[in-house]
Amino acid sequence: MKISVEHIAKLARLSLSEQEKELFSAQLNSIIVYVEKLSELDTKDIEPTSHVLSLNNVVRDDTPRESILRDEALSNAPDHTEKFYRVPKIIE
């Protein structure tokens, strides 16, 4: 399996230089090769698992809790105005 770095980058809205493409492509593919080792296991008789915990049905009641202050929330963003997160223009 080979990862298309360009495709992944496009999905994540990242523009990569040729150098980066090569670098990340090599890194991602080595990760894939590493994980692919798992497919050597015979899992014929094993139920698929999506969660490692043996927990189910963790729910909370519909009771409001304090939200955090707007300033506090916005302060984590690279760019914001007094009331909004500010991002590069989305539509033409």
Binding site: H7, L11, H51, N56, V58, V59, K83, V87, K89, I90
Partner: protein, 484 residues
């Protein structure tokens, strides 16, 4: 060539909870931007989402109302895409193993009942809201602004089978869905405020062809008015493409209500590659049978059942029953009025006429819903009793009704205060009859010459003279006696 449209709808309904789906932030609409967020819903690292139990309960409720099976094992999935209104870079949704599957609902189109299959109903979180330069006052022009109050608000997505064959059926289906959601109290059904949104998958095929053709997805149908219009446009467009020898592309199109057309999102849209995988932060849901049974038994009487009951129990026409059961509070109002008036069938029809006539008119004039109606059902019943007793005439009743609606006073009080008691005293009415006859010699002559329609004119004049209070029966009798 004749074509047939094939339509499937994906409806997003905002679930009426007080808090978001995975955190305790408020879902209140219209608050100051970015004041209802916390580390969970703005996607800070290291936080853990926890499912709001009410979300689950409301979706299961809806599942039952749509004749779905409730999955004994269900889980969440991450839908990955990159957009500024999605702080985590993925939306928590359901993919395989949604909570409800394999349902249906029935719609009535041109008198025929039709079953529309429900593929699935699943839970997911809403994204935030993007505001573009022009909307926020236009500073600079190179930015968009993000409000994350809506991020994490619970939604259910109701996906229909491609069973819909016309824009009209689609509109009926939407109406039906809205009615059910409102009956259940799980969604307010307000399309204009975005609490009910609809995307449509549309394709056309030559009549008789079994296979589906390539479909386009129409998004942004944000008002009830536009469901039919947007689909009509899209169907016509696809037929034209085919007849001109072209091919319908599989693409997403946006409905533009100002231009009345759908437009391709070409280029503007992110590639559809969501790379779904099970959400590791949320544990699976294995609903307890007892709890689910409880939810099922708590369901209210649903619109279809209520409508049929209104027909059989109150002797109403299908049409009237449909009107009265469209909104549960209206149906409740009607039933309360009927219960306090009379057990006879004619009584329930009379109430039906007042509710869909005068009451609806007055409510519409002020843009009020039945829940805001100042008039109590019992008050209508009492007024009708006054009519039956002959205290007021049918004509005066309209005045009394309006007055009751405006002041909230009982009919009896209004009738006394305004002196609206019907005149049934024959001699008093006779005086008015004589006066009208004396004043209109020409009309009298024409009437005697055979122009019998003029009887209405005379009745009208007498009513005018008595301010509508004369007992119409006595007026008619006297007129006939004097003129014939």
């Amino acid at each position: 060539m004749k074509y047939e449209a094939v339509i499937g709808l994906e409806v997003h309904a905002q679930i009426l909870t007080d808090t978001k789906i995975f955190c305790g932030c408020s879902t209140k609409f219209g608050s100051e931007p970015n004041t209802q967020t916390c580390p969970v819903c703005i996607g800070m690292p290291g936080v853990l989402p926890v499912l709001n139990k009410k979300t689950l309960e409301f979706v299961i409720k809806t599942g039952f109302a749509m004749n779905c099976t409730i999955s004994p094992y269900s889980r969440f999935a991450r839908k990955n895409y990159f957009y500024p209104d999605l702080p985590k870079g993925y939306q928590i949704s359901q993919y395989e193993l949604p909570i409800c599957e394999h349902g249906y609902t029935e719609i009535v189109v041109d008198g025929n009942v039709k079953k529309i299959g429900i593929t699935r109903i699943h839970m997911e979180e809403d994204a935030g809201k993007n505001i573009h330069e022009s909307a926020s006052g236009g500073q600079g022009g190179n930015y968009s602004f993000v409000d994350l109050n809506r991020a994490g608000v619970p939604l259910m997505e109701i996906v229909s089978e491609p069973d819909i064959r016309s824009p009209k059926e689609a509109a009926e289906y939407m109406k039906k869905l809205r009615t059910i959601l409102r009956y259940l109290g799980v969604c307010d059904g307000n399309m204009e405020q975005g609490s009910l949104r609809c995307d449509a998958n549309v394709s056309v095929r030559p009549a008789g062809q079994k296979e589906f053709s390539t479909r386009a997805e129409v998004k942004n149908i944000n008002s009830f008015k536009f469901v039919e219009k947007a689909l009509e446009y899209e169907i016509k467009r696809q037929i034209k493409v085919i007849e001109e020898g072209g091919k319908v592309l599989q693409e997403t199109r946006l409905w533009d209500s100002n231009k009345g057309i759908t437009e391709s999102m070409r280029g503007k849209e992110e590639a559809h590659d969501y790379r779904y995988f099970p959400e590791p932060d949320l544990v699976p849901i294995m609903v307890e049978q007892k709890w689910v049974d409880n939810i099922k038994s708590s369901l209210p009487e649903l619109p279809d059942v209520k409508r049929e009951r209104f027909v059989s129990e109150y002797g109403l026409s299908e049409y009237d029953a449909d009107l009265l059961t469209d909104e549960k509070p209206l149906a409740d109002w009607y039933e309360e009025a009927t219960a306090s008036y009379s057990l006879s069938l004619s009584g329930s029809k009379i109430i039906s006429n007042w509710v869909k006539g005068e009451l609806t008119r007055l409510l519409n004039e002020e843009n009020k819903t039945i829940e805001e109606c100042p008039l109590k059902p019992k008050q209508l019943a009492e007024m009708l009793t006054l009519m039956d007793k002959g205290t007021i005439s049918g004509k005066i009743a309209k005045t009394v009704f309006e007055e009751m609606y405006k002041t909230g006073n009982d009919a009896e009080v209004i009738v006394k205060e305004k002196g609206l008691v019907q005149i049934s005293d024959e001699s008093a009415i006779e005086k008015a009859v004589d006066e009208v006859i004396a004043k209109n010699p020409k009309e009298v002559e024409r009437f005697k010459a055979g122009d019998e329609k003029l009887i209405g004119f005379f009745v009208g004049q007498i009513m005018k003279l008595t301010k509508g209070k004369a007992n119409p029966q006595i007026v008619n009798e006297l007129l006939k006696k004097k003129l014939l």
